[in-house]
């Protein structure tokens, strides 16, 4: 069964701004909803002019450093670079994509640096520090589950490219980071499974994202993580979270639990796009993984 709400490609097409991008709900275009809308529409077969205009909007706002800003008015690349890359894979000049991939490869979490770890040790700070290189939301900050999962998806197509060496190293490190953040209940939260030594529980959306990024990997902890995702999906009330959980479970060829759920209405373009993407995945085509293999 699919948990997608009454969202269709037309819902997204109607929300497109005149400049070709999409806003989160209303207002000016932003990178994250635009990238997700492009992915959803392309997967739904609406590959015509609206999708091209969406890609064109993304191409116009790539920054000189190779990354993407969350909005055109913001002079800073951040985690949305991964989504822009996913939306443009196979549909942009190789130089555009390569510069984006290189921006991601140049991003490293500050909390994994040797200097920082030594400093924290000397200060006697009880922090649950990762030793693995992963990705942060914003440059020069700590690693978290969502930006790590998105960056891993965006870099997967580059495993056999001239960038394969650093890409494979970072994918392995990202995978190790995700497993190191596993919560006591088998899922993932934002990335703090312990704070001051206290165990924390997982969230549904981040559990789905981590499982999606770990598609194709093997680990003895995977069955427990899949069970946590299934548990979350049975109780889930959030449309966004349910979409990520579906994507995560389907990436590991898991059947979706056929229980009635009362999901919230997908309110933002992001929710709507994710619902469509999840619906495509349930029909056998996971656009985030296929985008990742398209380059």
């Amino acid at each position: 069964m699919t948990y997608a709400g009454p969202v269709t490609a037309e819902t997204l097409l109607a929300a497109q701004n005149p400049d070709g991008g999409w806003s989160f709900a209303r207002g000016t275009s932003a990178t994250e909803p635009t990238a997700c809308a492009v992915l959803a529409l392309a997967a739904a077969g609406a590959s015509g002019e609206p999708v091209q205009r969406g890609r064109g909007w993304l191409l116009r706002i790539q920054r000189p450093d190779g990354g993407w800003p969350p909005r055109p008015s913001i002079a800073q690349s951040n985690y949305v670079t991964s989504l822009a890359l996913l939306a443009l894979q196979g549909n942009a000049a190789s130089d555009v994509l390569r510069r984006g991939a290189e921006w991601l490869l140049n991003q490293s979490n500050r909390d994994a640096s040797t200097i920082y770890r030594i400093r924290m040790m000397l200060l006697g700070t009880r922090r649950d520090l990762p030793s693995e290189e992963a990705w942060s939301w914003f440059p020069s900050t700590a690693a978290w589950v969502t930006p790590t999962a998105l960056a891993m998806l965006a870099l997967r197509p580059w495993r056999d490219s001239p960038l394969r060496e650093p890409v494979r190293k970072r994918l392995a490190s990202g995978e190790a980071y995700l497993w190191s953040r596993l919560c006591r209940d088998g899922g993932w939260n934002h990335g703090s499974s312990k704070a001051l030594g206290y165990e924390a529980d997982s969230y549904p959306e981040t559990t789905g994202q981590a499982l999606l990024a770990l598609s194709g990997t093997r680990d003895e902890r995977l069955p427990r993580a899949l069970a946590a995702a299934e548990r979350h999906l049975r109780a889930c009330r959030s449309a966004e979270a349910a979409s990520w959980l579906q994507l995560g479970l389907l990436a590991h060829r898991q059947p979706l639990p056929s229980v009635p759920v009362h999901l919230s209405r997908p309110r933002t373009v992001l929710d709507q796009a994710l619902s469509l993407i999840a619906a495509r995945a349930a029909a056998g085509q996971n656009p985030l993984l296929e985008a990742a293999h398209a380059a």
Partner: protein
């Protein structure tokens, strides 16, 4: 007359506390910041209590565009993580009744992305009629870059949401909670929720790297006009702000001087505000000392309900009354 504050003086009092504007370390006699402590419950009298508090502080509401900023973090029915929707509803109706031109409810949760779903799970949709049209997810709002009046290390400006930048008054509606990094989270820390996740992420980790205490002051300096109304009816003790236990304190704490309000709320919680670093850094008129705050309603020591502190913060315990 200290009670007879003009609008200009009210704004000045609020803005001084926001910016740490170099006011004297002691208030002038008769000019002490005023903080209300009122016994309250989530029952039918809450609207009247909130209205009385807003009136006794002469909060400038008439024809003003007001944003109510609750604390929405996660949903766990077994504890008290979020500001109660009943208090938000009471503040909404009180502001409307006192002539506000518009009232929005806005929050940008720091850990969970689906803010609407969080609000729904926390009971906001059920309790507040028309909530869907009133709510703004500050993580996804339109934003502009703002140079901060008070910077934190490495953070001299922030992108901030238009809903906050373009309103006349923010009413901070925090939950009274312990906090495992800074000791207590109240009205000032609640403003972390205005920093947009679309730029800085979930959590807004740039603030932690700049220093949480310094960042609390920096973010507050971007919001000069603020009134604080602390939901201390039911708070959280222990390993707050998420994993602690529900704690009944049965009060609301309110005022225009955000440092004085948070300091008073600390005293109610049995926490010494003078040992909370961001309050010491922010005080402009000795607000962390009880004698420098004029209390209205209940005396904090009369309603003091010691919140359990994790071992790392037991040193914050206020001496017995």
């Amino acid at each position: 007359m200290p009670h007879d504050l003009t609008r200009r003086r009210w704004m000045l009092a609020s803005a001084c506390a926001a910016a740490g504007a170099g006011c004297s370390r002691r208030p002038l006699p008769g000019r002490e910041p005023r903080v209300s402590v009122r016994k309250a419950s989530y029952g039918s009298g809450l609207l009247e209590t909130v209205r009385e508090v807003l009136e006794e502080h002469k909060v400038p509401l008439k024809d003003r565009h007001v944003v109510l900023k609750p604390n929405l973090v996660e949903y766990d029915e077994s504890t008290a993580v979020n500001t109660s929707p009943q208090l938000v509803l009471a503040a909404l109706e009180a502001c409307r009744g006192l002539g506000a031109a518009s009232v929005r409810i806005a929050e940008g949760p720091g850990h969970r992305r689906p803010a609407w779903d969080l609000a729904e799970a926390a009971g906001y949709f059920g309790a507040i009629g028309g909530f869907e049209d009133l709510f703004v997810d500050l993580n996804l709002d339109e934003i502009s870059n703002v140079t901060l009046a008070k910077s934190a290390p490495g953070v001299s400006s922030l992108y901030l949401p238009h809903t906050i930048l373009r309103c006349d008054l923010v009413i901070s509606l925090p939950k009274m909670k312990t906090h495992h990094w800074v000791g207590a989270t109240l009205g000032m820390k609640n403003l972390f929720g205005i920093v947009p996740g679309q730029v800085y992420g979930w959590p807004k980790n740039i603030l932690h790297w700049a220093g949480i205490h310094e960042s609390i002051l920096a973010v507050n300096s971007a919001v000069p006009a603020m009134f604080t109304l602390v939901d201390g009816i039911e708070g959280m003790e222990g390993n707050g702000p998420i994993q602690g236990r529900r704690k009944h304190a049965g009060v609301i704490v309110a005022g225009a001087d955000r440092v004085a309000v948070d300091a008073t709320a600390c005293r109610v919680m049995g926490i010494d505000p003078g040992r909370i670093r961001y309050l010491r850094m922010a005080e402009t008129a000795g607000q962390t000392e009880e004698g420098n705050v004029r209390q209205i309603g209940e005396e904090p020591r009369a309603v003091r309900t010691d919140f359990e502190l994790i071992p790392e913060f037991r040193r914050l315990r206020l001496s017995p009354a």
